[in-house]
Amino acid sequence: MSALSLKKGASRKSAYDLKSPLSDVLETHTIAVLVDNEAGVLARVIGLFSGRGYNIDSLTVAEVDHTGHLSRITIVTTGTPAVIQQIKAQLARIVPVHDVHDLTVEGPSVERELAMLKVGGSGEKRVEAMRLAEIFRASVVDTTLESFVFEITGAPDKIDAFVDLMRPLGLIEIARTGVAAISRGVKAQT
């Protein structure tokens, strides 16, 4: 199939931007926002999303530069190309925002999420849970005679798959961090 016969917006990794800005196809984007680590900055970002009716699929935030008082907020959001464009423009005009990077379009990037799963049970199910954890390279960070707490790191869909497998094996509780993401290669995005 020739590249030009692709449906508009079908490819995210294409060398050519085939997406129409007017497309109504929903896309998921991971956006990294570098902000001054000042009081209320997270409320400003969240307020922007709730006030203007945008989606937040996942959001993580932590200080990344202690001397420069900078925090990095990673937001996974879904919308049409026009909405994604508007989200980035709205984020960029918040006064304490230094930089907005759309990791989904700015070249290859790595996305990771950490999750902890509490799984209870005994006998065969317990053994099966342990075997699957090994396959997923999840580690055991707490155990009793009736339970494990697994720690797993990976892309969100890997964690989703692991959660689905654990559910019939006695899944009790899940804690997920949300997505942290960074571009590949030597160059910094700040």
Binding site: A39, G51, A82, Q86, A89, Q90
Partner: protein, 584 residues
């Protein structure tokens, strides 16, 4: 030069160093130390309002009529919450405003103390930025930064919340630095390649139109001059939003009148049928576009805006230019001239002859009578009798606002104060006061409706106290006129609560405030009454009793495109369909 002083002294010093001459405010427990410092000096004039909302709108009137930021000082809790409407108004209309609010002392924050409110939390969505200052050493630089943020890029309101202990404590004062502190520094120069693309489009366009907005006014007087030069040079027709009136003179040859829901027939049809739309500092507001999917279907669109989030927000544009209107117009003119000042003369000639046929409709005409005063007639007489004066016009919100925009001619920028984006009834009385404070010798008129006037009429006390000769010109139809008009068009003539029952006697009300009251209900007496208002040296409330059921036309009904306007005397039955009814 750094100096030791108290936080309260810093506030006053910082305002002086920022060139502030006027503050609009209202004292209270949490700002008493600042008021004590204001008492001890004479450089900054404090205008005591009667309600904090009045302070914010007065600051807007001051800002819009001078191009300088307006400064507001309020106390904690209710003082700050009362400022919210004016801040939201300033955010929507991009008015630079600095609000300083008192706060309970830092050690009481979070204890639900007396007159405590989460002011930065409440004002976060209605300010461009805000700060809670917990350390006196950081107070001065925060106030300087607040002025920088409020006035650069797309202007807007900012708030600095100052706890009372921070006002009492001593710290180091730093004067404003010439070099930028912080990273906030929006781009003002436009991309030359994009500007050149626009020039190329202008050279060949057959049916171009300039669509200008409040961004031209905000960019400064020089931007309006450049706009006039560009319009005169190209010969293109020009229309403007409500917020942009005065950037291009109403008496100018290429003026089509205001566009939008109550804009002129020729302006709206020019927008609909153009092949090149040049948006300069406007934002495709829903009052302008009508139905989005039928908005100007045949045109290429260029958009000059300083706010990247305004571009492609509502209408997809072909030539986006991010930058300040003044800077971009300067480059645009330079490039257009250097390429030989080309336009498509034949196309333009045909375009103007089409526009003339639309103009011939005379869309603002109305059926006059000598029995009672038609609101349009009142506006025409006000225009005729005041246009020779050094004049500033404020309005409230509603039918009277649209009639003022249609019938008053604005020859210069910064002469027109109105609440566009938020549509705040109660804006005009305090805004006229703010404009009069800035221009004590000018003729400042607030065109009001009977209902809007009542919303902030307490500010007449401010006008009397500070000898501000503002003229309140009330088009009194004893109705919420615009609400009544919509109920007629949309709700089967069921006039639910749109009748102003129990109106005060406005003449007696004026006298109660120490102002002059004038009553007029006869068209034959109107001119003399208006002259009496102009010639009175002091505040006036003019009760102009007008036709009660007049509708404001032309009108683009909600959910309709530009080419389906209603003109005066037209049948309005079924004008708004179900789809349009949900729109405001």
């Amino acid at each position: 030069m750094t100096r030791q002083m108290t936080g309260a002294q810093m506030v006053v010093q910082a305002l002086k160093d920022q060139g502030v001459d006027t503050v609009f405010g209202y004292p209270g427990g949490a700002v008493l130390p600042i008021y004590d410092e204001i008492f001890k000096q004479n450089d900054i004039r404090h205008i005591l309002v009667r309600h904090e909302q009045g302070a914010t709108h007065a600051a807007e009137g001051y800002a819009r009529s001078t191009g300088k930021p307006g400064v507001v000082l309020v106390t904690s809790g209710p003082g700050a919450t009362n400022a919210v409407t004016g801040m939201t108004d300033a955010l929507m209309d991009s008015i630079p405003m600095i609000v300083l609010s008192g706060q309970v002392p830092t050690f009481m924050i979070g204890t639900d103390g007396f007159q405590e409110a989460d002011t930065v939390g409440i004002t976060r969505p209605c300010s461009k930025h805000n700060w809670l200052v917990k350390d006196t050493d950081k107070l001065a630089q925060t106030i300087h930064q607040a002025f920088h943020v409020a006035t650069s890029g797309r202007p807007g309101p900012v708030l600095v919340d100052i706890p009372k202990d921070v006002q009492f404590a001593t710290g180091t004062y730093k004067p404003p630095s010439k070099t930028l502190t912080g990273h906030y520094n929006p781009q003002v120069k436009g991309d030359i390649a994009a500007i050149t693309e626009l020039v190329e489009a202008m050279e060949t366009a057959e049916r171009p139109v300039f669509y200008t907005g409040g961004g031209v006014i905000n960019s400064g007087v020089a931007a309006s001059q450049l706009l006039r030069e560009l319009v005169a040079g190209t010969g293109f027709p020009i229309t403007s939003t409500l917020m942009g009136l005065g950037a291009y003179p109403a008496s100018g040859d290429n003026w089509l009148g205001m566009l939008g829901m109550h804009g002129t027939y020729e302006a709206n049809l020019a927008m609909h049928d153009c092949d090149l739309m040049i948006n300069i500092g406007a934002r495709f507001d829903d009052r302008i576009t009508g139905r989005i999917d039928a908005f100007s279907p045949k045109s290429r669109k260029a958009h000059i805006d300083i706010d990247a989030s305004s571009i492609n927000k509502v209408i997809h544009v072909d030539i986006p230019i991010l930058g300040d209107v003044g800077h971009v117009l300067e480059d645009l003119l330079k490039i257009w001239k250097s390429r030989g000042r080309k336009t498509n003369a034949a196309g333009l000639k045909k375009w103007w002859s089409t526009i003339e046929t639309w103009r011939a409709k005379d869309c603002l005409s109305y059926k006059n009578t000598d029995k009672l005063i038609k609101p349009q007639y009142a506006m025409q007489r006000l225009e005729a009798l005041t246009k020779g004066y050094d004049r500033y016009i404020a309005t409230e919100v509603g039918q009277h606002q649209m009639w003022a925009a249609q019938f008053l001619g604005f020859e210069d920028p910064n002469r027109w104060m109105t609440s566009g984006g938020l549509g705040t009834m109660g804006y005009g009385v305090p805004a006229s006061i703010g404009a009069q404070v800035a221009h004590p010798d000018a003729l400042v008129i607030n065109v009001a409706g009977d209902a809007s006037f009542l919303m902030n009429m307490q500010e007449m006390g401010t006008a009397t106290q500070f000898r501000l000769p503002v003229k309140q010109f009330i088009l009194n139809n004893e109705r919420l006129g615009m609400v009544r008009q919509w109920q007629e068009l949309l709700h089967g003539e069921r006039y639910s609560h749109s009748w102003s029952e129990a109106l005060p006697d406005f003449v007696k009300l004026a006298e109660a405030f120490g102002a002059k009251g004038i009553y007029c209900d006869n068209p034959a007496d109107l001119d003399d009454a208006i002259m009496e208002m102009i010639n009175h040296d002091g505040p006036v409330i003019f009760d102009c009793v007008v036709e009660k059921h007049e509708n404001c036309f032309p009108m683009i009904p909600s959910g309709k495109p530009h080419n389906e306007m209603l003109l005066g005397e037209a049948s309005t039955a079924g004008a708004i369909e179900t789809g349009g009814a949900v729109l405001v």
